[in-house]
Symmetry: D2
Subunit: 346 residues, 4 copies
């Protein structure tokens, strides 16, 4: 690495410190500034990182020609205006999930970046975990065969957010993972969403998403702020093998079950025998390196800029996630009936 | 126990042997006969139980006035004709789940039993596990508060059934548990069902059910024949406490989390602090007796006959399960849109 | 299998019913009689198996020339006289663990069987589980490399036995497993035993055994009647791979960790880096057939008789277990100092 | 908090950064300096904490009268000379475990601190985890009754240390926890140690310690550098209840089993019934606050200085751990026979 890029982190609230810490320690980046309207918050973060310049006015960042890129970690409704301003100032942009708070605004961001030849990247953090990277490799190599279903559960006691429901808070993680590991990304014609608000919080605190996949399969998401048990599990059923990602089991995050279901075997009339025959097949748990996801994300952002190519989780990936979330919103508005997904232009 | 009742088991296939073994060892019952069209199969079972009379013609059982009751463990489509014949012959009847293969036929069975003053019971086996019995007690005692959500997952590699889809094969377990533990039984206005058949089996092999509860809560079921990991877990979220039933963890099947989510706390603006405050609260795992569910079911069947009262899982409970399954079928037919549940007359 | 052998089960108490049930259902055996001094107990068992002849006098069994073998499931102190009588009557013998209540008596049994050309087998049940059989294959094939350590934990709340301490009650399981899977059997020069009797029961309720292995390795056993958590875990550390048998995890009983510790790597001075480098290596969990161990034990007993060869867990294996238990007794008597193992003549 | 104390951290290698980070963020402390012979290493650490003064000569720290205390995180063989120099310079001292590399040197440190009225504290980090603090409360309140046994397992793949064996590397954790939670501290008359070096590393890589407790109970430790599975589990069996601390299960670190073994029940002759009766009793898992142990350790160090009292893990606690380790060394030298513990003068 002969040269490094310079970046400013916009927003020092919940997620900004994680971004700042990782860009600070990345060999690919110089962390040039922390920008937040709340100077005290920005300074506390800057100090903890060994003294980084603090800025309270976004314009100062954008006017600084030595800064190559910005990382945006502000409330979702501000992603669009900040990103647009940054792109217009010639900065590469990475945005905390979700890319924007509507698909239409996200499309404008993608167009702007395209026209200016700048990188627009979605910080789909989970895609850069060693587990997700390995899953993508396994799927691409055909190890799982065709994907028959993908079921993602992400439940835990969590703060009821003031501005978003549980779908917009948590499901971007699940949807971005699906988009990352499915060949061709998350391509679904419609979304059926079931939400519940049993506490009268004014928004869904429990949510389910069902999305048909092209081959007759299904993708499903369960997100829940009210569960006392924490589960973060993705099951990917393939025609050859099936994979389970249990993110809370650090000693065995990934398990690959070396078997599929062979329809030809289904002619058996004896139920017991047939069931038992399914179970034979070894399980394999690949070793994963220990690496913080945001460190890999920061490296990918740098590489995409340096190599002049889209990031692995580029703006279009962010748009596919937004499209699914918008369709979910539409489904909720019509009581759970499937709602067509509007595909964004490529 | 001064007297015992006499029962015949109809069907010696998959489930019949379990019924026969439990009625055989019950202090409340005499196992009078095993009835199956396949004499060899019936005799094998009869011999293993120490020599029980074998019958191949149902009429012989029904004509035997010393037999008080029959337990039906034949294919679902035959439940209705066999049960009707038995009721008309004056026998009390317990039927393997599902009660019938349509709500309408189930209603006819309930009517017949009512008119004759006979017990019609659904063998909702899971309701008689020590875990389910304890959950019902806890809910009735108000330990969980209002039920906000109930989420049931039952997935495993399983035989693709020749006659039924995954909903009719597995979901009766989840629905009957919900019906058993929810105050007033499973009362839902509609069912949204998502099914997938990625193998081209001609029927859903993966299924999801969403059912709104009266208070804004939701009940959800995930059943799956294609999952290599076996999960049998029910989470019941209450306003006071939340309960998790992990049926595959014999050392701690039930966990009760002594906390709920207090909406008043939600004014906090600092996300991290609020999240952490949720987590404080002890977990409690009640000890459960070791008892086979079918043994308790057999005892309840005898008690309901002796005491002249409906069984805890009576025909009406079976009907509520059928109603949900039929609504699921309707929802599938209209691509997953919610389908109204037809309530059976009380 | 053109012919079957005939067997009587002696003892209808705790373990006898398991033996009887398995010989009853084995294709290799005819269960000819249940023998117990307590006729009622024997008859209850005989009836539950479909009607087996009951005998109360051992002499009647031994005088019956149609009976080829006996399975002894009586209290340990009676194993020797019953087995000796049976051998003298020309019967093949399988004995519940431990083989006898002293090494010397066990040796007499082995001699008697040898002189008469009869099979004397120890019912080391755990050796016939699919897990243990697979471990033995893996060790024999060199998959683990040299065995560096074997650590076995078997703890649970258990009845304080009237006649034996926790070592003689539980450790035969661990020792027999070690004897089965270690190449050449359990060969240790000495045993150091630590026991504790904190309740004043008059015997050790908690016990630890340490046994040096030939190559500088160690075998260790922890048995405990007072633990509220149930653990049955064997870890076998090899120079190539390490294996964990978690018998209470039916979904993943065996895990093989594809790595060893390479001493050459130990020159690293940076502690963190070296530690991390150890962790890379996949985990593999072989599928195991579902088979009851006693069924395989019964088949092995028949095969050893038919083929005129020692059983896999023959009397000598039983003797090696007894030798370790006796050395443990010696160690306890001298306050835990290592006590030499007396090898039995081959 | 009206005033803060000033501290220097000596040693910026493996553990020093953790100490420095926690003293840096403590409200009770000012982190005045990082001291290491290797200036580059010290500066890297100092920078990461926002710019702390760096010193390479210990004499400079000791000569600085504004510094109240030092935290020593250097190799164990240097603990004694550095601590003695610091005490003679009037500094309070906290020392990474083990307190010293021999009991005799540790005693000299304790004497020196006593004579000068300074605090000498052992950084027994695990004692300041929320779990250990809670266990101590439960034991003190009599919730467990008398302690019958305490069994600690700490195994994992780990670097083979150049200077110490597995006992001196890992067992200080287990011994210090035992010392912390047992009423009156770890009081054992002797230690039996079993070690194994199957790789020819020149020191024990696998170790077992057995220590009789006063009441007939036993304490046992299993430490192991060669295990591919990571286990950190302490079981404390009491006459009233038994507690399990599973440190790798963040969702349920502590489980308290509400039952003991009642010897009076042991007259039962029916083994099965008696075993089952043991199992009834609820399990309770207390909620624990989330707090880094070193933060609580730093607060305790400050409080003991301010209040002029011994720290909870004072030098004498460190000595008791050293005494056990020395006895273990003696036991190893005589092949595992129990070795008497030399009590240090109070």
């Amino acid at each position: 690495m002969t040269s490094t890029l310079s970046i400013a982190v916009i927003g020092a609230g919940y997620w900004g410190p994680n971004l700042a810490r990782n860009f600070r320690s990345s060999e690919h980046w110089d962390l040039a500034a922390i920008c937040d309207l709340d100077r005290a918050r920005a300074e506390k973060l800057a100090t903890s990182l060994g003294g980084i310049p603090v800025v309270t006015d976004l314009a100062d960042v954008l006017a600084d020609s030595s800064i190559d890129a910005v990382a945006i970690a502000t409330p979702a409704r501000t992603h669009h205006p900040i990103a647009m301003a940054a792109l217009r100032a010639g900065k590469h942009v990475v945005v905390e999930k979700p890319l924007a708070d509507s698909r239409e605004l996200g499309e404008a961001m993608v167009r702007e970046a395209d026209e200016r030849g700048l990188v627009l990247m979605a910080d789909h953090t989970y895609c850069y975990t060693p587990a997700a990277l390995r899953i993508r490799e396994l799927v691409e190599a055909g190890e799982l065969g065709d994907i028959l279903f993908i079921d993602s559960v992400r439940i835990n006691l969590g703060l009821i957010q003031p501005d978003v429901d549980v779908f917009w808070d948590l499901a971007p993680h699940d949807l971005s993972i699906m988009d990352f590991v499915l060949p061709g990304g998350l391509q679904t014609a419609s979304v059926a969403a079931q939400g519940a608000d049993p506490l009268g919080a004014g928004k869904a605190c429990i949510g389910y998403l069902s999305m048909p996949l092209a081959n007759g399969g299904v993708a499903h998401v369960h997100v829940n702020w009210l569960s006392p048990t924490k589960i973060r599990q993705v099951v990917i059923g393939g025609s050859r093998r099936t994979l389970v990602w249990d993110d809370l089991n650090p000693q065995q995050r990934l398990s690959v079950y070396d078997r599929g279901v062979d329809l030809a075997q289904q002619s058996a009339t004896d139920r017991t025998a047939a069931t038992v025959s399914y179970r034979l097949g070894d399980t394999w748990s690949p070793a994963l390196p220990e690496r913080e996801a945001l460190s890999a994300m920061a490296a990918e952002f740098a590489a995409s800029i340096t190599e002049g190519r889209p990031a692995r989780t580029d703006g279009r990936a962010g748009l596919r996630v937004l499209s699914a979330l918008e369709a979910a919103r539409g489904s909720l508005a019509q009581n759970g009936a499937p709602f067509a997904v509007t595909a964004s232009p490529n």
